[in-house]
């Protein structure tokens, strides 16, 4: 057979062969050129994150993993210690009214800075860096996620290189969160004072910081490598590691296998359902830290079928829910649920029953609050009193209406679905029929989603306060946060709650704020629209060869908050 030749003088076979060979060679050899070495194996810890940071600028992202990675390099004025106290980091002391750091009227805050701090390139850290950071936050070109508090600063000045004086338009109680905790201070000299950081390379490669580690490189989708900062004020003792590498492993299941094979040394944020797989595995230990987040039920006080004439598309907070509008029904629902049994069944006792929107270890928690009792008899009695009498199929009726309610949470969460199913069973025992209608989280929480519009009966969600609970309590329980203006999706409208949240938000000093928040918590629970279920935990895992990890973790920070103490 004579091979047919093409016009280009190549026969088909040769052509196909060449194409194949070229594709193979290109595919195999192409990327190899980029595989460069790391230097000799040193003291390295590789920690798996299941999410990739969006960026490393402290002000542009609210994502937890962004903060985890950048916190090793960029520090704030203060941080929160495991016991919930605020400790100075770049500041020399925590300003209070007592030590003169805060003026009597609460409008002036003076922060004294540490004098011996240098940036990782050797430049001294000064008060000018703090002022520069404020200017960055206020620059309209920058995609700053939140200016809360910063936009209340009327004037910021530096009487000397190590003192910052902030004057506020009105007293700002959460002043300790500024340039701290969720945020940090930026190095002015790196930008030559130019406050437009919208396109700065620094957002992805923060090469200069004051923290124990400094940035080396970020291989997109693979890992972010940090190395010890020799200029760190703890040097040469700290950090002990030469390198800290955060690897990006998008599936937690894969990270668990990598931990078992030793491909990674630590892993961030496991699910409660994954505890069993790692418990008892030799050489691996779990770090279970209480978190400020808790699982709760939110009951809709407004009629899902109503419409607010002022806000079309949203329910009218003044039209009560036909069933849940009666406080006796709300109380009965809480009494019918055995929360301890849920904790035991789903978490094997690894967490605790929640008692308040503010967790027990939080400084603002009200210790007088106790878990609700489980009393189905009392629940039935309350429902009878409310006019709901036993009907067919064990479901109560009133005026020909069945006691049917919908419960809603995010899809794809096994534990939540199981919680709903258990609650469904408990409520049926007292004559309430619960229908589970879950939706994806982006639908549940969207602007036009059921929580915002008010088209739901009962919602299950997780939320909790930051170190400063002001924003959390305001956005969830203050009457001015009723949708569309916030997340008071219960539509709680109680002037007393509003008053105590406001007093707690404006009093100066944690001691003065605490009593107001404690009263607010009591009042919120009294509404019966907020039913706390169980406290959530932060679950991380470490290989035994990682030494120096603080026992019990830090509920206010992330799993690698103490990486400067780690050793291998």
């Amino acid at each position: 057979m004579k091979p047919m030749t093409s016009r280009r003088g190549l026969n088909r076979r040769q052509f196909l062969k060449r194409v194949g060979a070229a594709a193979g060679a290109a595919a195999l050899l192409g990327p190899l050129g980029r595989l460069t070495g790391y230097g000799q194996m040193q003291k390295v810890v590789r920690a798996a994150l299941w999410q990739e940071p969006e960026g490393l600028n402290p002000f542009f992202h609210i994502q937890t993993v962004s903060r985890i990675v950048r916190s090793r390099m960029l520090e704030g004025l203060f941080r929160v210690a495991p016991d919930g106290t605020v400790v100075p980091v770049l500041a020399a002391e925590v300003p209070t009214v007592a030590n003169g750091g805060v003026s009597e009227d609460g409008r002036t805050v003076t922060v004294k800075l540490k004098r011996d701090v240098v940036w990782s390139d050797g430049t001294p850290f000064t008060a000018k860096d703090v002022v520069f950071t404020w200017e960055v936050v206020m620059d309209d070109r920058n995609p700053v996620a939140s200016r809360a508090g910063y936009d209340l600063i009327e004037d910021i000045s530096t009487p000397d290189d190590f003192t910052v004086v902030m004057r506020f338009r009105q007293p700002y109680a959460p002043y300790l969160t500024l340039f701290s905790i969720r945020h940090a201070v930026l190095p002015r000299h790196v930008f030559n004072g130019n406050t437009d950081l919208s396109q700065a390379a620094f957002n992805r490669m923060p090469e200069v910081g004051t923290g124990p580690f400094k940035f080396v490189r970020w291989e997109s989708g693979s890992f972010i490598e940090l190395e010890k900062n020799p200029m760190y004020r703890g040097a040469p003792d700290k950090p002990r590691l030469d390198k800290l590498i955060y690897t990006i492993v998008p599936a937690r299941e894969t990270a668990i296998q990598q931990l078992k094979t030793g491909q990674v040394d630590a892993m961030w944020n496991l699910l409660e359902t994954q505890i069993a797989e790692l418990q008892g595995v030799p050489d691996i230990r779990l770090l279970i830290t209480p978190s400020a987040n808790l699982e709760y039920l939110g009951l809709n006080l407004s009629d899902p079928k109503s419409e607010d004439p002022n806000n079309p598309g949203y329910t009218d907070p003044n039209k009560p829910h036909p069933i849940l509008g009666d406080p006796r029904v709300r109380r009965a629902i809480e009494l019918a649920i055995d929360k301890q049994a849920i904790v035991d069944a789903l978490f094997g006792g690894l967490t605790t029953v929640a008692v308040s929107p503010i967790s027990p270890f939080h400084w603002a928690h009200n210790p007088e609050l106790k878990p609700s009792e489980y009393n189905p008899e009392k629940a039935k009695q309350l429902l009878e009193e409310a006019g709901w009498t036993p009907g067919p199929g064990g479901v109560r009726v009133k005026d020909g209406v069945r006691l049917d309610l919908r419960i809603m949470t995010t899809t794809g969460d096994q534990i939540r679905l199981q919680t709903e199913q258990i609650i469904q069973r408990y409520l049926l025992e007292v004559g309430i029929n619960l229908q589970i209608v879950n939706v994806p989280s982006q639908v549940l929480f969207s602007k036009s989603g059921p929580l915002q519009t008010g088209d739901y009966d009962i919602a299950e969600d997780t939320w909790g306060p930051d170190f400063d609970p002001a924003d959390f309590l305001t956005i969830l329980f203050h009457s001015r946060s009723i949708p569309p203006n916030g997340w008071n999706f219960f539509r709680i409208n109680d002037p007393n709650i509003d008053k105590h949240i406001e007093l707690g938000n404006s009093a100066i000093g944690l001691e003065a704020r605490r009593p107001h928040y404690q009263i607010a918590q009591k009042l919120i629970l009294d509404t019966g629209a907020y039913i706390p279920l169980y406290n959530r935990s932060l679950i991380d895992a470490f290989h035994d060869h990682v030494k120096g990890v603080t026992e019990g973790g830090n509920p206010w920070d992330d799993f690698s908050w103490d990486a400067e103490n780690w050793d291998v």
Partner: protein
């Protein structure tokens, strides 16, 4: 031929415009939006949201946003990610080589396995081998990828310790030359195996059917009649013609070399385009999504054209005018 190609290229322009418009409208209509995560954060107040919306141009009407995006694209500007604020093209290009490596090797291995199986199944139709291969092919084809990937990982990484459990290279090691190549191959093994298991069936079955079509034709019988050996009849006469539609199918799958495999890249922590797309989808990062989808659409269209042209080239009976 040339005029045919030019005509097809011109026809593609309205097609691509239509595709981008529809994709844009679909993306916009998904509930959530780029600021969804910010909306449930108590520190991000309504005034912050309004400022961010304005910065991202989300306060503009949808069609204006599309027109702006398209206008910039025509000038070669693929825009900036809403999430990372980096140029879209930069984000795509740093991932594309990884995806091409994974998908390219997987395609080669798949073909290397599928072609012999397909040929042998057709030649020995209804034999034990054919039945066994048909069964296995369907099993692989219908296997949930995530589950299969994890299963292979448990066996080969955790139990046997032959291959690493995900990743693209050893993080924290110094490797050069052959060691680096070997390291890369070790990391490639499991994702490639997973992709091969799930896609071999498709190609093998296709080739089998295509070969069965030609094997009963007159010219093949003539070849047998001439007394040619089986090997010669099958490879020189039958397979050659059976491969023509097969090559087309392979060409139509070429865009996958770029778009990648979301699930396999996720299970094996492979930093490819599929994962970039998935991450961006979760965050409603419209510019990145539009970038990946537009390049994907462009490649689908080009590969269709390539398949048609290749068909004409490989099969002299087909002539375009």
């Amino acid at each position: 031929m040339l005029s045919y190609v030019i005509r097809r290229l011109l026809e593609g322009i309205p097609l691509l415009l239509g595709v981008t418009l529809i994709v844009y409208l679909v993306l916009i209509s998904i509930p959530g939006g780029p600021l969804a995560a910010y909306r449930s954060n108590p520190r991000v107040r309504p005034e912050d949201l309004a400022r961010l919306e304005k910065q991202l141009g989300l306060d503009q009407p949808v069609l204006v946003r599309y027109a702006t995006w398209l206008g910039r694209l025509i000038q070669g500007d693929w825009g900036y990610s809403y999430v990372t604020r980096r140029p879209v093209l930069e984000m795509i290009s740093e991932r594309v080589k990884n995806t091409v490596l994974l998908m390219g090797v997987a395609l080669l291995v798949t073909l290397a396995v599928a072609v012999p199986i397909g040929v042998y199944s057709a030649v020995r139709q209804y034999s034990l081998f054919d039945h066994a291969m048909t069964g296995l092919a369907f099993m692989g084809y219908s296997m949930p990828v995530f589950w299969l990937g994890l299963l292979l990982m448990l066996l080969f990484s955790v139990q046997l310790r032959w291959f690493p459990a995900g990743g693209m290279f050893t993080v924290g090691a110094t490797l050069t030359g052959w060691e680096a190549l070997l390291d890369r191959l070790r990391y490639l093994a499991l994702p490639v195996l997973t992709l091969t298991v799930v896609s071999t069936g498709f190609y093998a079955r296709y080739l089998r059917a295509s070969l069965l079509d030609v094997i009963h034709q007159d010219y093949v019988r003539t070849a047998w009649a001439k007394g040619l050996a089986e090997r010669a009849v099958i490879t020189r006469h039958a397979l050659r013609n059976a491969l023509i539609p097969f090559v087309t199918v392979v060409a139509l799958h070429m865009p996958q070399l770029f778009t990648g495999a979301v699930v396999v890249e996720t299970v094996f922590a492979w930093p490819g385009i599929g994962r970039l797309f998935w991450d961006s989808a979760l965050r409603f990062d419209y510019p990145v999504l539009m970038g990946v989808l537009t390049i994907g659409a462009l490649l689908v269209w080009l590969c269709n054209l390539l398949a048609d042209v290749l068909y004409g080239y490989l099969d002299p009976r087909i002539r375009y005018s």
